[in-house]
Amino acid sequence: MSISTSREFDVIDTEVHQKSVRNIANEMAITLMRTSGSPVVTEAKDFSTAILDRDGEQLAFSGHVTFHISTSVMGVEAVLRECPVEDVRPGDAFMCNDPHTSGAIHQGDVGIVMPYYYGDEHIGWGYVNEHVLDIGGSAVSGFAPGARDSYSESLAFPATRVVTGGQLDPQWESFIATNVRMPGTVLNDIRSMIAANNVGQQRLVALIDRIGLERFRELNEYNKQLSDAGVRSVVASLPDGAYESEDWVEYDARGTDDLFNVRTRLVVDGDELTIQFRGDPQADAFINGARPSVIGQAWTTLVAQLFYDIPVNAGIWRAIHFDLGPEGTVVNSVAPAPVTQSHMETGMRINKMLVDVLSQACALSTDPTVAARVAGQPAQNLALFSAFGIDRRSGQPVVSFPASMGTGVGGGGQTVTDGLDTYGCQAMTGCGVADVEIDETANPGMVLWRKVAPNSGGAGTFRGGMGIDMALCILHSDKMTGGAFTSCAQVPPRGSAGGYAGAAGEWRIVRESNVIELLEQGILPTKERLQGRDEHNPSKEGALVLQRGDVFISVNGGGGGVGDPLLRDADEVRADVENGYVTSRQAAELYGVVLDEGGRVAPVLTEQARVATRARRIASSPERSITADVPFAPLLVEDGVWSCAACAQTLADATGNWRDGAVTVETPVVDRYRELELRVRFRADGPPVVIRENFCPGCGTSLAVDITLEGRDPVPAPQLGVSDLWE
């Protein structure tokens, strides 16, 4: 730890100060939530607030969307780039929503940056960001699945001064009102962000009145040093080495099943981390990642998995180095690459890959706290639509963005618990699923059902959380147009430490349904009674049309499991079967649990089935006995070799890939998932997505379940002690 030894340093004072500044950011968040009208803010909690110092270094971060850790910094950078600081005045505020120029995640997440003053002195910046209901262009509610360039997506503000003297400039107000759907709501949301920024300014002045400006600055610096020290102490307990993962960004809206490869390499070197991302060339579709979303989503996973108790400020950035590789790729796109789904497409692949590489590193750590951070990937698919039409009930235009459908994805299994059901995406802490009665008020339709999707959570010692299965019938609008999407339909979320992958997410539409007819007859439309024309849609649709009576169905994915499912407590499996969360087929096939006629665990038969499952996995009787109970760290690297931690079977030389010594069973994922009763979308062209189950040849323990493409080499195993970076 490298804390300054100045006589003025007092750790208690410093901590008290940290809480004070964080409280101010919290208060900004409360103000925003109370004044905003949008369920996207109040229920889905799609917003954040931050306070930065005059140099643009973070002091505190609050709210709920962790990828805004990057946008708050990059938004202020953009303001400083666009406007010389001497030209900034009290009461100004700048609008930042362009991933290519003003640090935004996507254009729908609008950041408002306001300079803060103490007396006449400029002391820092307030930052508030929320997903506004619409920002114009072809992107209804900020999503443009059909756009080919960023110009055709939506309005983009490159750090534009839209507020002067504390008021939204009338010219800009009129400009925005003319260009967005639902101008009243959007302008009110912008006013709410100004109000939240104002609260930050007032509270900051009160704080500085108490402690003085000099002490304020001094304590800020100490807090940055403390957060830096915290990050370093966690990183130091990861084994030095290089860890790799890869994934694919899906795009199928134009008749092809495109998969864009993305890769990461995490290098742990002492107390510093370097995270490299590489990817295929950028696409002419909204899936491209840009710098704010790629780095922002990296922070999402870093704070969820490793740095969850370290206060967010500029200090957390110091030991972490990001390398996005050359410009012009899906992980580092440049204008005019479309980016309205930057955070949910490439960005959420960043989450999946980082969970994977961090889990690989944690599993090899000797520090028990860090070793416990091995986890399955969260589902990260968000299957939903955004559309625009007239609500017949009010006669008014309406933007329908039923976030509840999409945010109900399952969380990854953890070493201490099953993944959270209907977790939301990893970035959105505190994210909720709006009530049906709120959804039916805000959207011109009727919710037909809302369930958890059985089997969606990946199997494991702790299984993944389950996703939501929900149907909305358009009833109060003749026609709505917009887009629909899901970002994880063909390449499902993986487990960790031998845990299985979870279900992927999908949406579909039942056209010309019998819902209206049933209701006219006084019969409740349910999943079983629903009839109509099933339409085969791609998983990205830029020209969505929903007509009265059409039913939009979203079935979200579940998180990956952690640990071999054969090690799951058999009674937990029984409870899952009884509750309908896991089918008896999956219980038998993956968990090796046998239930008697009364639905109780048959202990002897279960033990036999588990032994038989191990044998089936490796197509022979296991020769080695299990001597260690290590569900979350199935691999060991010791004495120059990789070995199975459960039975000590040697697998490969430590410099090679342990998979070379494992029994690997490869199956197209659609086939394997059909057997296991899990949902995944078929890839019609290009090499199929496959699942590779890697087992220990000695004892049949599940070591890792990989998801990759047919014919593709496996990712390298961890390379301990290696600190080389990619070119």
Binding site: N23, R34, S36, S38, E43, G184, R210, Q414, T422, L524
Partner: protein, 706 residues
């Protein structure tokens, strides 16, 4: 204390607060208050109550029947419903729910905790066994139309299945039932035919407000807590009848105020939050006596610090309270609880920064100084190490403390890793505990637009008087009141309770639509009729009731509401126009200039009424005669302490409670030993005793920073 008993009249009254550990009792007699304490008896709460009664009666040289036969009122605060809800233990509940929505309880509105840590992302527990949730074909649509009639046969079959599963309470949970309760009501009638012994709660009855998850959970929690509540009420009724009580028995609710047995057995959920609310109402009464309008309240226990606020002596109400990850529609007196109690543990985090709480050593193993195996240093240990708690006289000598163990734990876990002395480490723990409590107080004040400098801090419970002055310095709060009887303060609040009930209905009146006003008035009229009928059942006539009306307003499209008082008469279309015009100003008062929504219609979402019947207040200890002049106060002795704020060792005076007579005052630094608590008066602070025997600490008007 001398007690002169007038045996001729029913002039006694009893307030009891049945807490998790202690059952506190406050008995009022014409000549003053008597307080007593006993252990709570969880198998049969009436035994603990009887024990407390016995102790109190003994102080008057009377028997329990002699005391109870003179009582005109017996008011209960009880933690049983709070326990049932927080521990999810109670009746076996079955649910009938709209078909297609069985998983509403599993989804739990997306119960993701607001925490970065993925290990904290745990699915909420099942309150209802999944096989006890039955789906029923029926549907009301968003406009209140009963689109699908109730499948009555399905209800009968489902109820029979639930009965066979041993369910003893049924919550009826249908979508949009607050708009059209017919299907729920018909279901209730069918359950009564099929399963008459079952306890039934309709969501539209218990919380007729939009947002189904909260409404359903309110119905489920009402069911969950009915068995324990009914048993408790019956045991108590038996006890009182056997001891010649023939006064009014009532129960203190989380919203403040008390209601009778019938009301609580049908609506047990109103007892949620009963205990903390008792303390708040007790403070309100004392503030009224002292003429203090604005009050911040703090209560420090072993594991938590509870705080609340009175502005113009009105408690703030928390609406839609959540328990863990489970949201409800219940409104209770807003008491914020943070993990900052005497047992809160100090540790060093990954940044090398000391932290205090939220984890607590509780009472087992408790602080290191308890000598029960606790190895982690707690706030109590720090106060012992500073010398501010006398280890030989803790809880009036009932518990011997081990100061060496306290010092060793601080040394090992905090002082040594930071390279500090034990005293400096203890002072650091003190400071962080103060910060945590001050932040909780900021949450109820500053974050809601109140300036703590305009407030008086009332504090009671455990060790809080040791910290109060320092907390107030952080907040800029100028004065502290430590009430007389502070150790049984909730029982006091319960004793003086009024009859209070709240009713609420969603009406969704778009103020510009004149045609809706009749419906709003009709719904309000229904609520008032219900309120009058329910009060009549407790012997309270309509003309004795105060009826306050209020509405939850918002701009169309918003999700949160602002509560605005309304006149005590039917609303007119002109009221609508006027409210629509005024609302932006009311809104901006809460959220700041320029925040009102331009051009958005204003909606009255929920109409609420609150009825109060002011019960006669029992006399307190009484007011002392005005003193002749400032009395000289002789110290009891001196102790050697490490002053936490000044960071230096010093010998300071100690004073006995009795030596501080009304009108007298002592200057800090010193401590006042009040028997069950200790008041620390830092340098620059004056401690005086007022005519009501309360202790008053005055802080010098100086900078609020340390």
């Amino acid at each position: 204390m001398e007690h002169v008993i007038d045996a001729s009249a029913d002039q006694f009254a009893v307030g009891v607060d049945v807490g998790g550990t202690h059952t506190d009792l406050m008995l009022s007699t014409p000549s003053g208050l008597v307080r007593s304490k006993s252990f709570t008896t969880h198998d049969d709460y009436s035994r603990g109550i009887f024990d407390s009664l016995t102790v109190a009666a003994g102080q008057l040289d009377m028997t329990v029947p002699e005391v109870l036969s003179r009582c005109r009122a017996f008011v209960n605060g009880t933690t049983i419903v709070t326990n049932a809800v927080t521990e999810l233990r109670g009746a076996k509940v079955g649910v009938l729910i709209t078909e297609g929505f069985k998983d509403t309880f599993r989804i739990a509105r997306g119960a993701r905790p607001d925490d970065y840590d993925d290990h904290a992302q745990v699915s909420p527990p099942d309150v209802i066994a999944r096989d006890c949730i039955e789906e029923i074909q029926e549907r009301v649509t968003s406009d209140g139309d009963v689109a699908v009639a109730l499948d009555e046969e399905a209800v009968r079959e489902a109820v029979r299945r639930l009965r066979a599963k041993g369910v003893d309470a049924i919550a009826v949970c249908y979508l949009w039932s607050f708009k059209a309760p017919q299907n729920e009501q018909r279901t209730g009638a069918i359950v009564a035919e099929e399963f008459p012994e079952a306890f039934v709660t309709l969501s539209s009855d218990v919380h007729p407000v939009i947002r189904e998850y909260e409404r359903f959970m309110t119905a489920v929690f009402n069911c969950l807590s009915h068995r324990a509540t009914t048993r408790y009420v019956h045991q108590l009724e038996e006890l009182l009848a056997a001891n010649r009580f023939d006064g009014t028995l009532s129960f203190f609710q989380g919203i403040g105020g008390s209601v009778g047995s019938e009301a609580v057995t049908s609506r047990p959920i109103t007892l949620l939050g009963s205990g903390p609310a008792g303390g708040v109402m007790g403070v309100r009464h004392v503030a009224e006596q002292l003429g203090i309008d604005n009050v911040l309240i703090g209560d420090m226990g072993g594991t938590s610090f509870d705080t609340s606020l009175l502005a113009n002596r009105q408690p703030t109400i928390a609406k839609r309270v959540a328990f863990g990850q489970l949201d409800t529609g219940i409104s209770i007196i807003d008491v914020i609880s943070v993990g900052a109690g005497g047992g809160s543990i100090a540790r060093i985090d990954s940044r090398g920064v000391p932290q205090v709480g939220p984890h607590s050593a509780g009472s087992e193993p408790g602080p290191a100084a308890y000598g029960r195996g606790g190895e982690e240093p707690t706030v109590t240990d720090a106060m012992i190490a500073l010398g501010l708690i006398n280890p030989d006289n803790y809880l009036q000598g009932r518990h011997q403390l081990d100061p060496a163990a306290a010092a060793a734990a601080i040394e090992e876990r905090i002082a040594k890793p930071l390279g500090w002395s034990v005293e400096a480490a203890a002072a650091g723990i003190h400071d962080l505990a103060v910060t945590n409590m001050a932040n909780a107080l900021r949450e109820v004040s500053v974050e809601r637009g109140y300036d703590p400098r305009d407030f008086t801090f009332f504090c009671y419970g455990g060790m809080l008087p040791l910290f109060a002055a320092q907390i107030c310095r952080e907040l800029g709060c100028p004065e502290i009141v430590i009430p007389d009887n502070s150790s049984a303060f909730s029982a006091y609040g319960v004793l003086i309770a009024d009859y209070v009930r709240q009713y609420e209905r969603t009406v969704q009146w778009s103020l510009s639509d004149e045609s809706q006003v009749g419906e709003v008035n009709r719904v309000t009229g229904e609520m008032i009729d219900t309120a009058i009928a329910e009060a009549a059942r407790e012997g309270i006539s309509a003309d004795e009731l105060e009826i306050e009306r209020s509405g939850d307003f918002r701009f169309l499209g918003q999700v949160y509401e602002v509560n605005v008082p309304l006149p005590s008469r039917d609303l007119t279309p002109e009221d609508g126009a006027e409210l629509a015009e005024q609302f932006p100003r009311i809104y901006e008062r809460a959220y700041g200039e320029g925040t009102a929504w331009k051009g958005s219609p204003v909606v009255l979402l929920n109409m609420a009424i609150k009825v109060t019947y002011r019960r006669e207040k029992p006399p307190g200890r009484g007011q002392a005669a005005a003193p002749a002049g400032p009395a000289e106060v002789e110290p009891l002795g001196s102790i050697d302490v490490f002053l936490p704020a000044e960071r230096r060792r010093q010998s300071i005076h100690t004073y006995a409670e009795a030596s501080l007579t009304p009108g007298s005052a002592v200057e800090g630094p010193c401590v006042v030993d009040v028997g069950d608590t200790t008041i620390y008066v830092p340098e620059g602070v004056t401690c005086s005793r007022d005519n009501w025997f309360n202790f008053r600490l005055s802080l010098e008007a100086k900078d609020a920073s340390r």
